[in-house]
Amino acid sequence: MTQHKDFLTRLLRQMLLIRRFEEKSGELYGIRKIGGFCHLYSGQEAVAVGSIATLDLSRDHVLTAYRDHGHALAIGMDPKVVMAELFGKSTGSSKGKGGSMHLFDPNRHFWGGNGIVGAHIPVATGVAFKIHYNEEAGVVLCFFGDGAIHQGVFHESLNMARIWNLPIVYICENNQYGMGTDYKRVSAEPDFYKLAQSYRMHGEQIDGMDVEHVYDQVMAATAMARKGNPVLLEAKTYRYRGHSMSDPAKYRTKEEVDQFKTQDPILHLKSKLMNNHDLTAEDFDQLDQEAMTQVENAVKFADESAAPAVESIFEDVYTNNSSPPPGES
């Protein structure tokens, strides 16, 4: 039981970190310390945290789209290098060349962050292909939004994942709006998990606001995928902020947002821990305070970090590596 409490507390910590990180990102965007496109994950924390908690990142892999801060933090990236990347600093994970949408941590098998809707779905399928080709034990989690599910490459990829029996779980984070478009308006089949049937694949709809539920469902899905049975999960969730920072989200009502906030994944887990695991309000505040301190430290680190050298624009276009290295043949 204690073990379970520790586990749930770990998930709570991660969700709090993401929530505070995103709130701070929004604020820093508001004072223009962060620029460009910035898509916040507030409200969806349970999906990334619950899913990624199932993985063994020494062998498993994660890819996602442009709303990637939450996944980056859930994977264990240091909030400092993530915030520094949002600031465009040399200490950022991509040395200031990637920005909000292009967070990478290959050491933790996190292959980005991708700015083109759906473009990473075949790439993730390719990582699963590599696992399959090398007969490894890993699995790939491929996250994307409801907006991406109608892209051709989604369907092409699922087809190949099935015919080649690739170890991959496609997780559609259905936050109800593809930018400003209600998913129901543009979907012939609004129950996305049913699309799996077209590819003779297991599909399931899960509650993306309940982190423990997400964990259990993704754990079951990865178990299937590891055996060569790819899975499509549709996690019903909700984003509290607009699509990006420049979106005032006028396409939905305040009541709707408030209604979803009553299902807030953090509050949900908080009450579960308080009711079942003796978590006190003070304990929670303590955890929250720790998350805020982490974020403050990240901001301080990013603020104080050096800007990248101008000459660095010419770096990282090509690798000089070849296999075998030049001269060996």
Binding site: R19, E23, K24, G26, E27, Y29, G30, I31, R32, K33, G35, S42, Y240, S246, P248, K254, V257, K261, Q289, V310, E311, I313, F314, E315, V317, Y318
Partner: protein, 404 residues
């Protein structure tokens, strides 16, 4: 811990917002995402969502006030907290938040695929821009004579224009439309005529000329010549005498034996005097080399040889170029006096008219007849100032009037 609540950019272009209304009061508990203010931006009235949760401890910017993006508008925290630290921090103005920064300058472009540029070696041609080539071609200008000022010594438009200016003022004008001229025909152009036209135009338009004229009595000189020629079958010419005297004067006044070269003064070591010879197909100026160290007889012999070669066209380029001084004598055409154009690279030319018997008043106030020769010295003012030229001419007069 108390935290600052800052004005945020609620539109991409917003610099400042007017707080239309606070929707919460001090002491209220607010959650992240709650709308707590109505803010008028440059575009519209926007809802300000709190980026943080906690108790609104203080409203710093009241409704009706304006706040710039990044400015403190309130404080959030836990009831009873000390606010002085936050307020103090906020009094130090927030670092200016730039929407755009100016592009940094690359110290040195480090292109990952540097281009290897060719070594430019020109053996038989001068680099010139296509435009310069066309201009030169149209102007009949020889590019080999033009100094290039562009990269790799490339001749560019400007260089051709300068050369054209030097070559001919006429050429600055639009090419003459031959059909507008009175009826006639063009003639074949000899190389001598072309070079003369080019060099003397260049001289006239680059060397600032001025002229000094002086009359010289040459009765003594003529007497001396007659005396020396008494025993000779090959009579020494008057030109040889004059050339010898000019050489002696130049020896005394080396400041005349200079030129203006690449914006610097250039002193010639020897005295090389050219003399103009009119030929059917153009002017030629053969040169008596090192005239300063030669006798009259030697000079006379040199002149004979050079004139002969000029007439039978066996004279070579080194024999009629690169003089340091020039003499032009039109006395045989009964010209009394005239001004000549300096023959580069020299800086002065002496124009000699016809020796004319002239009544003059002598030192005893008697009118006597004397053979007067009018000398006109053309000087390049860049090299020879007026007084210097005058002193030289005075010395020349002395030597001519009292020959040794």
């Amino acid at each position: 811990m108390a935290k600052p609540l800052l004005m945020l950019a609620l539109s991409p272009t917003m610099q400042q917002g007017l707080i239309a209304k606070w929707l919460v009061s001090e002491g209220d508990t607010i959650k992240s995402g709650d709308v707590i203010m109505a803010v008028e931006t440059d575009k519209a009235t926007m809802e300000y969502e709190s980026p943080q949760s906690g108790t609104l401890l203080k409203i710093v910017a009241a409704a009706g006030s304006r706040a710039s993006v990044g400015q403190l508008v309130g404080i959030i925290g836990t009831a009873g907290e000390d606010l002085t630290a936050v307020l103090k921090e906020a009094t130090t103005p927030a670092a200016p938040v730039a929407a755009t920064t100016s592009a940094p300058v690359l110290a040195k472009a480090k292109n990952p695929t540097p281009l290897k540029r060719p070594n430019l070696i020109f053996s038989n041609r001068k680099p010139a821009s296509p435009l310069a080539r066309k201009l030169a071609r149209d102007a009949g200008l020889n590019l080999l004579a033009v100094q290039g000022s562009g990269p790799n010594g490339r001749i560019v438009k400007h260089d051709v224009e300068v050369a054209m200016l030097q070559a001919s003022g006429r050429k600055l004008q639009p090419t003459l439309d031959l059909t507008t001229l009175p009826k006639g025909h063009t003639l074949p152009l000899s190389e001598k005529r072309r070079i003369t036209a080019e060099r003397l135009s260049q001289s006239m338009y680059t060397a600032p000329h001025y002229y000094l004229t002086m009359a010289v009595e040459i009765d003594n000189l003529l007497a001396t010549r007659a005396k020396l020629n008494q025993d000779r079958t090959d009579k020494l010419s008057l030109n040889a005498f004059i050339l010898k005297v000019v050489a002696d004067a130049l020896t005394e006044h080396p400041t005349i034996n200079r030129t203006w070269a690449n914006d610097q003064l250039y002193q010639f070591d020897t005295i090389d005097i050219a003399f103009a010879v009119a030929l059917e197909d153009g002017l030629i100026t053969p040169v008596v080399r090192d005239a300063g160290s030669k006798s009259i007889a030697q000079i006379d012999q040199d002149i004979r040889t050079l004139v002969e070669k000029s007439r039978n066209k066996t004279i070579t380029l080194p024999e009629f170029t690169n003089s340091t001084f020039t003499i032009s004598n039109l006395g045989s055409f009964d010209i009394e006096e005239f001004t000549a154009i300096i023959n580069p690279p020299g800086s002065a030319i002496l124009a000699i008219g016809k020796a004319t018997p002239t009544p003059v008043v002598d030192k005893d106030n008697q009118i006597i007849i004397r053979q007067l020769l009018k000398l006109t010295l053309s000087c390049d003012h860049r090299v020879i100032d007026g007084a210097v030229g005058a002193a030289f001419l005075k010395a020349l007069k002395n030597l001519l009037e009292y020959p040794q």
